[in-house]
């Protein structure tokens, strides 16, 4: 047992098997051996095994992408498989191996030749060079890394063959086996967001700080994390058993039984009851839910309802829009899971960045600034909006329908709210004419744009609530694409400009009967709970895993002190000052 020191980022512990993530892994080939010393039979077998492993990884990636994103995006993996099993490439590689070239060198030679053929050309031909490089690297990883680490791996989950594990590890962070402790030089925000919190037992990185965006995302996924361990981390081999202690800021190699047991016990125990601050201000801690499978985890972790029910899952990966009945069933299922609580359903929020084939969304140069959210619902997709509202108004009249609330995404204008409310009223009138039982639920708007923050007072006057989507709000306030790691420094909710937009929103709602919530990554970071309570949020909604942590943290907060902290933070002029006020370190920022 030895212990490495770093900076605790997510205050939680986990035990698992180490796995290095090296997106830029060194695939340098060893020196070419004397052809006479090469065993062609063995090398041919290794080549075939590597192809099998890569093919399996490509098919996994294809299926997962088809499921999560779409068939078109998944097609690239079929092209990769085409290159992997290209008969002309296989013939040449096998011929080279028979002449005494090791498999890795033969693969590198042949693919480099093919890359050279496409490189420097334009458009689609250049993309082929990228495809070929990708397939080459997967094969080399299977041939080099797989072989090199065969002895070092004795982790608890070594059921998977190493060759295949190595072939798939770099691009497939979303499919790590359960009980993985991910080690990396650094993780980008998009790397981190791809992780499955149920599979990843912990994260430890060489670089990074507590407030790096990746660390914030890890916290909002409740993945135990220790960052900034330094070069010592490199001494850990893939497969070693590690304990990541995010509270103490340590990584323990080969922890003894006592340490392990303690780590497992400190898991997120649900806080069932609703919570209030130490001085008695209630804080509603709800869960974001993106599909029926997420309902049970949300109730198990003690969420006080659903603060964001994404309806997009009902629309993607299918040939036609869901029927009114399907939508009604999905919403009543959510209401039944939380019979005494509020369930906030967001109306359809798609746009050019989220392709749904049958919606014929326009191909726009900048989808984030284009036809999306309420713009589509009040425009070309008015029919879908009408059907969705019918389902929602009917659900509002069911046994647990009192808790239903409906909110509109990407609002930027008062007229949009007025038109949306008028549409709700006209749907209600239609249902009344038909003699169908229905009720009008609470109505609200998402605050995801600077426009909505500036207009918060006018919006709140016309609605029952506002809910701030911080990921989009930060993106639009800071003019920084949230999926672009190159501007990740800009895309951070702790910039004063974003905090002032939050403050403006909560202050505007404060003078009305409306309530105000937040549903974004920021809401799930217990390190920010005091700030958010101080800003005046009545409700915080987050990924279910962090509900227990945020509930515990909210109980410790003193609302009066939190208000003064929030005022100090809002008065700051730089992010560094904000971090200082919040007592967060600035390393890796």
């Amino acid at each position: 047992m030895r212990t490495l020191d770093g900076i605790g980022s997510t205050p939680r512990s986990g035990v698992g098997a180490a796995r290095w993530y090296r997106p830029d892994a060194d695939l340098t080939l060893p020196d070419r051996p004397d052809p006479a010393s090469v065993d062609p039979g063995a090398e041919l077998a290794r080549y075939e095994a590597a192809r099998d492993a890569v093919r399996e990884a490509l098919r996994d990636a294809r299926d997962r992408t088809a499921e999560r994103v779409g068939e078109d995006e998944a097609a690239v993996f079929e092209a990769h498989e085409g290159f992997l099993d290209d008969p002309t490439i296989i013939d040449d590689v096998e011929a080279a191996i028979r002449d005494g070239t090791p498999a890795a060198h033969a693969v590198a030679d042949r693919f480099d030749g093919a890359v050279a053929q496409f490189e420097g050309m334009e458009g689609r031909m250049a993309e082929r060079a990228d495809d070929l490089r990708d397939v080459r690297d997967r094969l080399l990883r299977a041939l080099l890394v797989g072989a090199g680490e065969a002895d070092a791996t004795s982790g608890p989950d070594s059921g998977e063959s190493l060759g295949s594990a190595a072939a798939r590890s770099p691009p497939d962070l979303g499919a790590l086996p359960e009980g993985t402790v991910l080690l990396a030089e650094r993780l980008t925000p998009s790397d981190t967001a791809a992780l499955d919190p149920d599979a990843v037992a912990g994260i430890a990185t060489v670089e990074g700080g507590r407030t790096s965006h990746a660390a914030i995302i890890a916290r909002s996924l409740a993945i135990p994390a220790v960052v900034g361990v330094g070069p010592n981390l490199e001494s850990i081999a893939t497969g070693e058993t590690l304990l990541v202690d995010g509270e103490a800021g340590t990584v323990v190699v080969d922890p003894d039984e006592t340490r392990r047991a303690a780590a497992v016990e400190s898991g997120p125990e649900a806080v069932r009851e609703r919570v209030e601050t130490a001085d008695g201000r209630p804080v509603e801690v709800a869960a974001n839910v993106g599909g029926e499978a997420e309902l049970a985890p949300a109730t198990e972790r003690g969420a006080d309802g659903i603060g964001l029910f994404r309806t997009e899952f009902l629309f993607v990966d299918r040939e036609a829009a869901p029927t009114e009945h399907e939508q009604f069933e999905a919403v009543t299922a959510a209401l039944s899971a939380f019979p005494d609580d509020r369930v906030v359903v967001r109306t359809l929020d798609v746009g050019g960045d989220k392709p749904v084939p049958y919606l014929n969304l326009p191909d726009e140069p900048n989808p984030f600034l284009g036809r999306r959210g309420i713009r589509l619902s009040l425009g070309e997709h008015g029919d879908l909006f009408g059907t969705q509202l019918r389902a929602l108004l009917r659900a509002a009249a069911t046994e647990h329908g009192d808790g239903l609330a409906v909110m509109f995404p990407l609002v930027t204008r008062v007229e949009e709210v007025e038109r949306a409310v008028a549409t709700v009223e006209s749907v209600a009138a239609d249902l009344a004419d038909e003699g169908v039982s229905h009720a009008v639920p609470e109505l609200g708007a998402m605050v995801e744009t600077p426009a909505a923050a500036f207009l918060a007072d006018a919006l709140a006057e016309r609605l029952d609530f506002l809910s701030v989507g911080t990921n989009d709000l930060a993106q639009y306030v800071m003019a920084a694409d949230r999926g672009n790691d190159a501007v990740a420094d800009h895309h951070d909710p702790l910039h004063p400009a974003v905090l002032r937009a939050l403050d403006r929103t909560t202050a505007a709602v404060g003078g009305t009967d409306a309530w105000v919530g937040m549903c974004g990554e920021m809401a799930g970071d217990p390190a920010l709970t005091e700030l958010l309570v101080g800003l005046g949020f009545d409700e915080l909604s987050m990924s279910a895993v962090t509900v227990p942590d945020v509930k515990r943290r909210a109980r410790e907060v003193d609302a009066a002190a939190a208000r003064s902290l929030a005022a100090d933070a809002v008065a700051c002029e730089t992010r560094a000052e904000v971090l200082d006020v919040l007592g967060l370190d600035q390393r890796g920022a």
Binding site: G70, G82, D86, R124, N288, P355, R482
Partner: protein
Amino acid sequence: MERTVTVEPEAGLHARPASKLVQTANRFDAEVSIGRDDDGLVRADSMLSVSGLNVEHGESVRVVAEGPDAEAALDAVCELLTSPVEESPDGAGDDTEDAP
């Protein structure tokens, strides 16, 4: 036997249509080759060779098939080349789950 057809898929013989062509050529007991009218032919079961042709939408290509299943292979390949494949508009790639 051989046939000359005009390539209909918007993407030409790239990306998805190319992999579909390769998969199709592989399915039959036949040697299928493809190329522009005047150029040399390449193996249709090779992604590398097919991509290397750089055939765009609207170009005409010659398809030659030999072997027991030559006719069926030719039919299947030409069917593919002359169907305007449903390549939906490029969805800007990223579909990060929409946390708001």
